[in-house]
Symmetry: C2
Subunit: 570 residues, 2 copies
């Protein structure tokens, strides 16, 4: 993991970008770049460095040393190893060899995922009182996807080897053979290029490919006996088709936000990059229906007008921090859009604690974005394991594409009467890939230090909030520990750890991201207090048992500073 | 809804079973039965009455008057009407005509469902510290279901009309034509009986049926290009196939409980009875893996040994209340099973507040239960709308059926080393249909009184915990109301209701089950207090704003009595 270090050289401070990597059983630190003498400058330079790395990776101009890319691969392997052995996640149906693109969350991973989803509910879904969560079906009628355009357009270019009958994504095959931006080519051009370049089948090595064809990525199934339906490739459609019912049930007000946290399914031809090409995955999506005439206003605009968004567009070389008011006046991005972009960024920086230099909002070019998106920024986070900034969410101004599509196909009028007239609302979609976000958290907060591996998750995200550790093996001490454990367990996920040395027990908790360890020791009986150890600093404080539950909750929520939450032990 | 009333006749008390039904726009009360002079006796008699009604319904000997069954149908219609207009649930994709067996939860229904699931986590999943939630995939490889037996055995008997090509479940068709227990017949016997009885096609009226065939109820789909996989028809299999990973990750202890709250999918031939035959539905299932040698022990046995289970088996006429210790010593039901049966019953009676006389655990006969279940009680609740006790969950001792099946099919050893030897754990499954439970709650707690309809949900389940109602239309009062609203909204789902008469606002909240209304009135500014109104009694108390949040939380959790939580207004 790349991180900034401050060095004192002859009384002056200098900033460097370092990275720790495991080589065999040892951890080696390597300096990647000099970042200057100023913290703010250093953060900026770090982001530029990481940006450049991404661009290189994306252009397939891999100038990194083999060793470095090996180390990064090792980090992914280590995360996978911890994830399996501790119960975060693992390939589904491993006993049957598993099929690619499917992952199962173990008990810690499911807690982490639930925490992420609940923080999303608390911070995104709760932005307005007229934002609500609904739950539609995963299986939806064919007409829904005729209306949305998925039946016609949700395709990947596919090619088959006539010799061994292996099938591949044609654009991936071209990319792997050095063709830049193959996604801009038509089917015929792809077929032609593959023939001209005499590209071999990666499976059997023969040169004998079929023409490139469109392959629809939706899973179809028969409902009843012969009614064709689909597994939804995005949660959004399940929301759009019920806009009218919910508009009425919520007493006919705009803006109306309807969210869904649910599975989506895509039959990827070649699933890869862990959680980035899953065939079954979780989305958290919020569709905000609003009056298009009011797109350049938001009643809480003043909350964000001076807030700086971290943005980059395809024409710009560098990431910029720009105030919302400037993006509104110069770049003509409407206030309604910017308000939610700012709230999304705040969620990433302040709640998920993504370091500023590892976050950006990337504006997609006309080529890149879906035709119905009028404004489209991807939410991107820097991944060590994928060597680059990658999409974990998106902010999509979809216009009335979806409602008008459903109106046309169903014949039902989707307009509503609001503000004295009939309008077809427009949609701003805040869309997040939950699994990618989970992988991002593992990538951001996992590190290997001298004491072993650490998962420095924000406490609100940690699967287990505290571990109760009795040190003295006597009934009266274990009774206290049990009482503390049951009391805390009423509201929090707590573990009870009674085996191994105290150091081993701390290490075990550090490894899975437990922010606090509570030890019951020789003084606990007499003084009715316990020690709380902080994962990140290893500092310890002494706290009365009667105040423990309240103190712990405040620590988790970040409402008090650790060293002031009790008597600090030296 | 049937309910007990106590009547004072010449100074003596008598109990009766009454039922309110809507006739046109009026509500009529009818006395169904006399229940005796004693409360306990009355509850018992009520249960017997409802039981008898169920049996009649099940045997299709409908001796109820047409009028009564019309009224019950009306209750279902009314619930559906409220559910749609208020946003609890409605048929999916209504704008496309919807396909049967699919329902969408609106914003209130989703809150109710989330609350149910969270109470289940808090009360069932938290029974032991080694019980955990995981999340597997909905799409699983074919081999999983070869191992589980679903590919071979998860079939319904299906018949097709040769004239109009409509298809039906053969057992339903037989039942509708007066044949008792058709599910005990073989395919040939069904075919023969349908021919002999000259049963007509319900669609076209012709007598020209095909032979009865098996129809597999799983949805199959192609993953990649031609890899056959299935949508899981129960969450359980996604858990069994990952038992080994989780046993290791949780540090190799038994009993180990692994739960999953997730969708399951069944291609029902004829979906019906609302949430009872859905094609896509949510299950909350807990698989407890344990050492079979220890089946007749549980470390907390003394908590339940004197607890009376409400049970009935197929040989008995009447429901009995029997102590766990008696069921253990006389009926030879093992302690490990009884402990969890008692905890499930407590969850229904104490947490979900199902009236005792509307709850029972029904032991299935050898004919009824799945061949791999060694002990099987259904959890049943009485439904007005379905006129009978119906299954909402089940407690299944599945032996080692599943682990040994996966062991055989995958070739992987599923045994673990525990207590000094190798064992293949047995499984006790606690299984719940979440949607059926939601329907049960609507059925149990919905009623029509003189003031309009009411949803008397327990406060812990109510979608919205309180509504803030400003009465005085002046800025300073509305400011207080807004402050109260934002303060309470930090931890609870609260609504803000500023339109309509005060009576209308109360009624609107009663209708969706909001337990408390908080009014800000003319005295609130001076006294810094508000009025809380209790939905069920319409009593009101006065509470200081500074204590409001704490008081409200205690009221919701049932930790204080309403009339003692503030100054009671007369």
């Amino acid at each position: 993991m790349a991180f900034i270090v401050k060095k004192n050289i002859n009384g002056k401070y200098y900033f460097y970008l370092n990275e720790n990597n495991r080589v065999g059983t040892k951890v080696k630190t390597k300096t990647l770049a000099y970042l200057g003498k100023d913290r703010e400058e250093a953060e900026k330079k770090m982001r530029e460095f990481l940006e450049k790395r991404t661009i290189k990776e994306n252009l397939n101009e891999n100038t990194e040393t083999k060793n470095e890319s090996q180390n990064l691969k090792t980090k992914a392997e280590e995360i996978n190893k911890i994830a399996l052995s501790k119960g975060f996640f693992f390939p589904t149906a491993g006993i049957y060899g598993s099929s690619s693109g499917f992952y199962t969350y173990g008990h810690l991973g499911k807690l982490l995922k639930n925490n992420w989803e609940n923080l999303w509910r608390k911070n995104i879904l709760s932005l307005e009182s007229n934002f609500h969560e609904i739950q539609s079906n995963n299986i939806l009628p064919e007409k829904v996807f005729i209306a949305s355009g998925h039946v016609d357009k949700f395709n990947d270019p596919m090619i088959e080897c006539r010799n061994c009958h292996s099938r591949f994504r044609a654009d991936n095959l071209l990319e792997e053979n050095g063709i830049e931006n193959p996604e801009t080519l038509g089917l015929d051009e792809m077929t032609k290029t593959i023939k001209e370049k005499k590209i071999k089948c990666p499976q059997c090595g023969k040169i004998n490919f079929s023409d490139v064809k469109q392959f629809n990525m939706m899973f179809s199934l028969n409902v009843g006996f012969n009614q064709k339906e689909y597994l939804s490739p995005e949660t959004a459609q399940g929301v759009y088709i019920h806009f009218l019912e919910e508009f009425r049930a919520t007493r006919e007000k705009l803006p109306l936000g309807l969210a869904s946290i649910d599975k989506a399914y895509r039959n990827e031809i070649s699933p890869r990059q862990m959680f980035f090409r899953l065939r079954e995955f979780t989305q958290a999506e919020l569709q905000i229906f609003f009056n298009p005439e009011k797109i350049n206003e938001h009643e809480k605009w003043e909350e964000v007008e001076k807030y700086k968004l971290i943005v980059k567009n395809s024409k710009e070389e560098k990431v910029r921090e720009v105030k919302c008011e400037e993006l509104n006046s110069k770049n003509k991005i409407p206030k309604f859009y910017l308000f939610y972009a700012a709230k999304v960024q705040e969620f990433y920086l302040d709640v998920l604690k993504v370091p500023k230099e590892k976050f950006l909002l990337r504006e997609l070019s006309e080529n890149e974005k879906a035709f119905y998106n009028k404004i489209h920024f991807d939410v991107e986070v820097y991944f060590d394991t994928l060597k680059g900034f990658k999409e974990v969410g998106g902010i999509h101004y979809r216009g009335n594409h979806d409602l008008s599509g459903h109106q046309k196909t169903s014949g039902k009028n989707m307009e509503v009467f609001y503000d004295g007239k009939k309008i077809l609302p427009h949609v701003l979609e805040l869309s997040f890939g939950v699994d990618r976000n989970i992988w991002a958290l593992m990538d951001l907060f996992y590190s290997v230090g001298k004491e072993g591996s650490m998962l420095e998750l924000p406490a609100t995200l940690s699967p287990i909030k505290a571990s109760v550790i009795p040190i003295v093996k006597k009934k009266e001490f274990e009774d206290i520990a049990r009482d503390v454990f049951s009391d805390l367990s009423k509201d929090l996920v707590i573990s009870y750890d009674e085996s191994g040395s105290i150091g081993r027990r701390y290490a075990r908790n550090d490894e899975i991201g437990t922010p606090y360890c509570i030890t019951i020791d020789g003084d606990s009986l007499k003084n009715k207090d316990v020690t709380i150890r902080d994962r990140d600093t290893t500092k310890q404080i002494r706290v009365k048992i009667s105040k423990l539950s309240g103190t712990l909750k405040k620590l988790i929520e970040g409402e008090i500073e650790f060293s002031k939450a009790g008597k600090l032990l030296k």
